[in-house]
Symmetry: C2
Subunit: 421 residues, 2 copies
């Protein structure tokens, strides 16, 4: 991993300030990874994505394999050159999307079931049933060797194996790539979760072997992350952490079902991170709510990806710490609300993003009501800037040994009950 290094610069409890060097630049951690599923952060140019403070983006192996195809992206010189983004990129393994086929795109399965009502993979008819929202005919079957699935685009049949996932990710050329795993849901029972985790471990070994035997294709190294599974079951989660921690991965990701409540998520993290090698970077998959990020950092996670800031932006959900001088519920306001129609203020006072420097809430509301695409862009710019500023505040607090104070200052006024890490 000559082009990679991870350094823990400072610790406060389990929380760490770190620096992850990649072939496409440095990521100061803790960091939020903006989701760019189809080799684009929806609505934004790479330049805008970078200007808001995004250090790294998260593209999607399943989607890019289906469209435009990894061979086409490889021919263009890899995902960075294809999309014109010269900073770090992560790709997931395709496992998550394959297992949520039918549940729509982009992390349709909630990571914490009852926190995201209507988004969880909540229609399983049994522990082996594929996660489909409709409950209709499964689009996916799993065996020890492989996963067969049908394209959500045209229904064509495809097969993923750990080897194929890594081959695709070698062709795409992201800096950080993920081992192929099965992502279990909060509705899977312990027996299925344990059985699945064991298979995920065998797939991790196959992913790693293929990765080691087939070098990079674009002239720079890639780092392969292993994925810890095990649901919210203590024994399974700890076993998975031990097994994956023992393999020769460049980093570790924590995936799958993190429980049904924020308390359960905190437990899962508390079981997991102490078992992971301290010198390797840790990515928490699919988590990006403000309170969850504080909890994740507190328990030693370094990077976080989540569609929520960008997807909510496209629905008019604006991230703000305060609104009318009071903490905004869940740090969010809905710009479509009639009270903003004549509001001359920016989305968030004090924000330095392009949207806040140039436009009023009244104009943003007009754009959303009139279904003008610029509204989604400006909201996306603001929300990603909000996330970048949050992560910067967290890094500064770790540098200054006052992370706990920062967490309290953010969460207590907003009505969250604080727990200790």
């Amino acid at each position: 991993m000559s082009n990679f290094s991870f350094e823990v610069l400072k610790e406060q409890g389990a929380a760490r300030l770190g620096r992850l060097r990649t072939p496409h630049g440095v990521i100061e951690t803790p960091a939020f990874v903006a989701v760019g599923t189809q080799a684009v952060v929806k609505t934004l140019t790479p330049q805008e994505t970078k200007e808001v403070g995004t250090q790294v983006i998260f593209a999607n192996t399943y989607h890019l394999y289906l469209r435009p195809g990894e061979d086409l992206i490889a021919e263009a010189g890899g995902v960075h050159r294809f999309m014109g983004w010269d900073a770090p990129v992560m790709t997931d393994s395709g496992g998550f999307q394959v297992f949520s086929l039918g549940a729509g795109l982009e992390h349709g399965v909630g990571k914490i079931a009852n926190i995201f009502p209507g988004e969880a993979g909540g229609v399983l008819s049994g522990p082996r049933a594929p996660v489909t929202k409709t409950g209709s005919k499964p689009l996916m079957t799993v065996t020890e060797d492989e996963v067969r699935f049908k394209s959500h685009i045209d229904g064509s049949a495809h097969v993923f194996t750990p080897e194929k996932s890594i081959a695709i990710q070698r062709a795409l050329g992201a800096d950080m790539i993920l081992a192929f795993d099965e992502c279990t849901s909060p509705l899977h029972d312990e027996a299925y979760t344990a059985k699945s985790a064991a298979r995920t471990h065998r797939w991790a070994e196959r992913s790693l072997r293929y990765f080691q035997e087939h070098g990079p294709e674009h002239g720079y190294e890639q780092a392969l992350y292993g994925i810890v599974q095990g649901g919210a079951f203590e024994a399974v989660r700890k076993e998975s952490a031990r097994v994956v921690a023992g393999m020769d991965f460049g980093g570790l990701a924590i995936g799958g079902n993190l429980g049904r409540t924020k308390d359960e998520m905190r437990n899962v993290l508390a079981w997991t991170t102490p078992l992971l090698p301290p010198h390797k970077p840790r990515h928490l998959l699919g988590i990006g709510e403000v309170a969850d990020i504080f909890d994740g950092v507190e328990r030693g996670c370094d990077t976080f990806d989540c569609v929520a800031p960008t997807r909510n932006a496209r629905n008019g959900g604006i991230l703000v710490r305060f609104d009318e001088g009071k903490p905004a519920p869940k740090f969010r306001l809905n710009i479509r609300n009639a009270r903003f129609a004549r509001d001359p203020r920016p989305l968030e006072e004090g924000c330095d993003c392009y949207a806040c420097r140039n436009f009023s809430r009244g104009y943003l509301r007009h754009l959303f009501k009139a279904e003008e695409p610029l509204g989604q862009r400006l909201a996306t710019i603001h929300n990603l800037r909000f996330m970048a500023r949050l992560m910067e505040e967290i890094r500064v607090s770790l540098q200054g040994d006052n992370f706990s104070e920062l967490k309290r200052a953010w969460l207590e006024p907003a009505g969250y009950t604080l727990t200790n890490g």
Copy 2:
């Protein structure tokens, strides 16, 4: 019109190089006016709109009256401040939209009927029938005094009069505003067109009187343009040109049905512009195809608005002069075409726009196929840059007395039959 002036700098035949000074800056003419119906050029920021070379945008009185309401925009300081665009703005009078209710939004009635198949107001059941595409119950009725119509948004009932149109446009605060008119269709006969034009002239007087009696609301002057109607009927069109030319307008617009063919459009212009006062700016409404712009400039038009460059962009229709070394049919290619999948070249070689400087046709095609909004943005940027470069070439040619040569160099290789102005 203290803040306004129009100067003809140079002439070649009827074509003119001009300079239109407005309270929000200078427009070098001939100029293309980018359409920003709902106080935004779809998908773009004001900064981007300006960076591609757009000098002036065209917003829509009917749409802004219905949503968000002209009072709200007035309260925000006028349309420029509301949308963050500090350069010139035109608004139409609402007449066009009112008369095409049911035909969709944004100039759904073709200006030259058989050139825009399927877009013309081609379902009139009689000369007095309102222009509705569906042929269903009319959403609009016209009397001598007023037009009653129903909102396309919520079906609510509204009334426009010439006075109300001007009042709304005073509140919106565009630099150039239009008199209220009835926009006739190629399917109206001469009798109806003549009757309608006579009423439009009475409405022009009412518009002008209201404009003179009710000053600007935002601390700067506005210029009111009269609209010449008369369809493709020589006598009616000439009469309309004489009547409207005789009124105290700040500029003249040529509107309504311009005929069924390009030849007819050229005739309409040849009848009209010689009758207009040479020292006033002339706007040709709803025309923006490359060949039509050359024809319009040749016959003495100074500014042109059209949704085509931006609407086509959103459908993947990219404006290029050449493709693969050959003139592109109608100066357009469809970026969704499979042949672009692996094309590493920019949309148009030699183009200096942000899209062409940073992205390949292959990536653009991917964005369109994957329905990523960035594709529409980049295509819009390119097409508006194309239009700005075209107009700049035209201005340079007028300066150098070689407009006819430029027109020939553009149109002949593309298979157009040239006519003399």
